[in-house]
């Protein structure tokens, strides 16, 4: 028998995920125009892989397929995998990454809503650890033509040194660490940098920001995570920068580079694997920002957001447990 309530808001998981995909579009457009158009091909490959993998597993588990496929959550995951990976990866790396995200992270834990880790970020971490060199080959923004990009993706011979360049974060790190240069000299010497971050990549950051604001307006996400993430990243990098401007890059550089904006609005906000209470969300996002900064600046990996997200995912049960909001009639007490 059906019990009350008998009426429901016309909301669905599908509409939520669709909104996320829509919100990604400005960023994707900037990607295509400014960096590498081949990302569209990657998105296609990833989407198909995600859907096929999901369908296969559900068949194996003898679960209904249609609702799971149509909820679009796998597509969101697939897109985020692609947007975190370098665009000129051979296609099989993308496929493997999506498979890890969907099969090993999402469905081993029972599918949508049950995975304690962010699937896209696990995919990134797994792949950068497994294929550190492939995963650090980024094309310089807008300098190779589409045909070359496509050849690289579909498996032509890879003349890597010739094509790839360092990302802004990478260039900054190598510059600061191995050649002992100062931030200013690094910023000036290389064509990698634009006004505030990596050249061309700044536009992506702007695109993601726009999409994020759209999601905020649509109430898909709440303000806590993006605000806490951006503020913390700015404050932490600001402190280091003020202390030693020659050794540490300015906050704006950190915010506009790498995946900071994508992370602020689309990744730390993953509802499934993130903290859920308002205070918990603040702690979670701030934690991601701090760890990501430390890894970027002192650690072994050029971009630390993925690991930071994963590390904070580990803490989510504890954070949620300790930040339960006071229930009506219980102000000042927690479970």
């Amino acid at each position: 028998m059906i019990h009350s309530p008998y009426i429901r808001k016309p909301a669905s998981v599908q509409s939520v995920m669709l909104a996320v995909l829509l919100a990604l579009l400005p960023g994707v457009t900037a990607y295509v125009m400014q960096v590498a158009a081949v990302v569209v091909v990657n998105l296609l490959i990833a989407t198909v892989t995600a859907l096929v993998a999901e369908a296969l597993i559900l068949t194996l588990r003898k679960r209904p397929i249609a609702p799971a496929l149509s909820d679009l959550s796998a597509v969101v995951t697939a897109w985020l995998v692609v947007l975190c990976f370098p665009p000129i990866l051979p296609w099989w790396v993308t496929v493997l990454g999506v498979l890890i995200a969907i099969v090993a992270v999402k469905h081993l834990y029972g599918g949508l809503g049950q995975n304690p880790f962010n699937p896209a970020m696990v995919a990134y971490c797994a792949m950068i650890v497994a294929f550190p060199s492939l995963m650090s080959q980024w094309p310089p923004a807008g300098q190779i033509d589409f045909q070359t990009q496509l050849d690289l993706v579909l498996g032509g011979a890879r003349q890597l040194d010739a094509i790839t360049g360092a990302t802004a974060l990478d260039a900054m790190r190598t510059g600061l660490r191995t050649s002992g240069a100062s931030v200013d000299s690094v910023l000036q010497q290389s064509g990698t940098f634009g006004a505030v971050g990596g050249r061309g990549w700044e536009w992506l950051a702007l695109g993601y920001l726009a999409g994020g604001l759209f999601m905020l307006a649509r109430r898909i996400i709440t303000w806590h995570m993006p605000v806490a993430f951006i503020a913390t990243l700015a404050v932490v990098s600001g402190i280091f920068w003020l202390a030693e401007p020659a050794r540490f890059a300015p906050p704006l550089f950190h915010l506009a580079s790498g995946g900071a904006m994508l992370a602020a609005f689309f990744i730390v906000t993953d509802p499934v694997s993130g903290a859920t209470t308002p205070r918990g969300k603040l702690i979670f996002a701030a934690g991601v920002a701090v760890i990501a900064y430390l890894i970027r600046v002192f650690g072994a990996f050029p971009e630390g957001i993925a690991f930071a997200v994963l590390l904070m995912n580990l803490c989510v049960p504890l954070i949620d447990m300790k930040t339960q909001p006071a229930v009506f009639g219980h102000r000042g007490s927690r479970p």
Partner: protein, 547 residues
């Protein structure tokens, strides 16, 4: 005028659907051919039957005497003949039966002698007893006896009259306030005096401007008594704790009652019923019921308690595509599985539901922890956590996360994008916890009795041994060496042996075969199949066993 309203967290704004049924004035429902008046008006309150089949009763005559601390009296809703005592389905999600008095109306609708009651002339307790004798219970939903809620007449600062009527579709309180504002306020004045309040507030959602206007006009007749406050329309603003919060800013602490914070809350219908009882001497025998939904003639009717829903429905002319009926609002009501259910004192609304108006819920998807439910929850709960634990049947953990602060308002399920019937999970967990508490009590009792029995047997054995020793000594003293004391002990040995054998058998059966197969096992005397077959027999007397 109250300067400041407070806010409660969460809440939702579903489409109200109130206009259609709120338009026509309240009409009296015709007398049904039969009235079925349950002796049990809510799960908690039970009454003892006072009439016998064949007896003629008048309208307002007492037919049931309240039993226990929460009992209130039950009255005949019209004059006629008691034709029987029969089980009838309760307006309760379980649809379990309860005993009801069936009355065949004689069509005269003849009242008992009605006399106004001067509550100021008698001690307060007598006035409360009078209300109880008039069968006044809360008409806002829970049916809690009003005389108990009136308490001891001390310590109440604010009396709140709940005219929020926050659920969609329902308009009975709206109409009542528009048409009988003066009666409501008169009732409020009585409640005010009885409870000893300093001030009285009437909270009405601001989507009922006519009701607010009518109440304000009527309030002029009670100078200084009440403030009529328009509150923002947001479900569940009518929930007791939410309304108290909005009007006074007080947050009733967990496990506490409003009275402990100096606030008490009554429904407008309750207030009107109090007025009728005190000033007109009329027990509570009818109420206003909204008939709406997928019907041609939505509206409000004054309905006698005990009127079967099916006879009422004809008034509203349900459309042919109606597939089920709801009692109560769409947020908290129940589906009526049996249309013979009688209208009770808390039945405020019957909604004819069709697939178009109330589509069946889309398939349940896993929770994506989006937090929409937490944002909607007026109790500041994290419904998805409660759901996570309830789904895993980890009800203890759900309780730790304050399951029992959930008021089952359904806001969370309303917003959930995964269409999870969250409230059902919470109800499941709650009743599971209650059941476990009952079991725990039973097992504590069993343990105590078992230990006591062991202690008693031990003691008896000792006493017997002492007696035997004494006897033996005596015998030995008398003669020498012929009778041994053990002979005396054998007297009760056969019984003990039997029990031991039974225990052994019981254990053996268990080891050898599942208990309720009916193939007798070689070597085991026929007891086992016997037990099994007897257990499967339907039993005629199980009411003894369960009462």
């Amino acid at each position: 005028m109250i300067a400041r309203l407070f806010n409660f967290h969460g809440g939702i704004k579903p489409d109200s659907h109130k206009n259609a049924s709120a338009a026509p004035p309240i009409a009296a429902a015709p007398l049904p051919p039969r009235l079925t008046i349950p002796l049990r008006q809510s799960v908690r309150s039970v009454a003892r039957c006072l009439v016998a089949p064949g007896q003629r009763v008048l309208k307002g005559e007492r037919i049931g005497a309240g039993e226990g601390p929460l009992g209130t009296d039950v009255h005949a809703s019209t004059s006629g003949t008691v034709v029987g005592l029969a089980p009838c389905a309760m307006a309760h999600a379980s649809s379990l039966d309860t005993l009801a008095v069936v009355i065949e109306p004689d069509g005269k609708d003849e009242w008992i002698e009605r006399r106004a009651f001067d509550h100021r002339a008698v001690p307060r307790e007598a006035a409360l007893r009078y209300l109880s004798a008039c069968g006044i219970v809360g008409m806002g939903g829970a049916g809690f006896p009003t005389h108990i809620k009136l308490g001891n007449g001390r310590g109440i600062e604010t009396l709140i009259i709940n005219g929020a009527e926050c659920e969609p579709w329902i308009t009975c309180d709206d109409r009542l306030m528009r048409e009988r504002a003066a009666e409501i306020l008169s009732g409020a004045a009585i409640l005010h005096e009885l409870i000893g309040a300093r001030r009285t507030l009437v909270g009405i959602e601001d989507n009922k401007p006519e009701a607010i206007r009518a109440m304000r006009e009527a309030a002029a007749g009670f100078p200084g008594l009440v403030d009529i406050v328009a509150i923002p329309t947001r479900y569940p603003a009518g929930g007791e704790k939410q309304l108290i919060r909005v009007l006074t800013g007080i947050e009733i602490a967990h496990g506490k009652l409003g009275t402990e914070f100096g606030v008490q809350c009554f429904n407008v219908g309750t207030a009107q019923a109090v007025h009728r009882a005190i000033h007109h001497g009329e027990p509570l025998v009818s109420r206003v019921v909204t008939l709406t939904g997928n019907v041609r003639r939505p509206g409000n009717y004054e309905v006698l308690v005990g009127t079967p829903v099916e006879t009422l429905l004809a008034l509203a002319a349900p459309k042919p595509d109606t597939d089920r009926y709801l009692m109560g609002g769409p947020m908290m009501g129940i589906t009526i599985s049996d249309l013979s259910v009688p209208i009770g004192k808390t039945s405020n609304c019957i909604i004819a539901a069709s697939a178009a108006l109330f589509p069946p819920p889309p398939p349940e998807l896993p929770c994506i922890r989006c937090g929409a439910c937490a944002r909607a929850c007026p109790a500041d709960l994290q419904p998805f956590e409660l759901y996570w634990f309830s789904r895993a049947k980890n009800v203890g953990k759900a309780q730790e996360y304050h399951l029992f602060d959930c008021i089952e308002c359904g806001s969370c399920a309303f917003v959930c994008p995964s269409h999870i019937p969250l409230v059902d999970y919470f109800r499941f967990s709650k009743s599971e916890i209650w059941a476990r508490e009952r079991e725990l009590k039973a097992s504590d009792q069993a343990r105590e009795r078992f230990e006591f029995r062991n202690y008693r047997q031990e003691r008896e054995k000792e006493e017997k041994a002492a007696k035997l020793a004494a006897k033996a000594a005596e015998t030995r003293a008398k003669l020498s060496g012929s009778a041994t004391p053990t002979d005396a002990a054998t007297g009760d040995d056969p019984k003990k042996a039997l029990i031991a054998a039974a225990l052994a058998r019981a254990r053996q059966q268990v080891a050898v075969e599942p208990r309720n197969t009916d193939t007798p096992h070689a070597g085991v005397p026929g007891a086992s199949p016997g037990i099994a077959s007897r257990r499967e027999q339907p039993d005629l007397h199980d009411s003894d066993a369960t009462s």
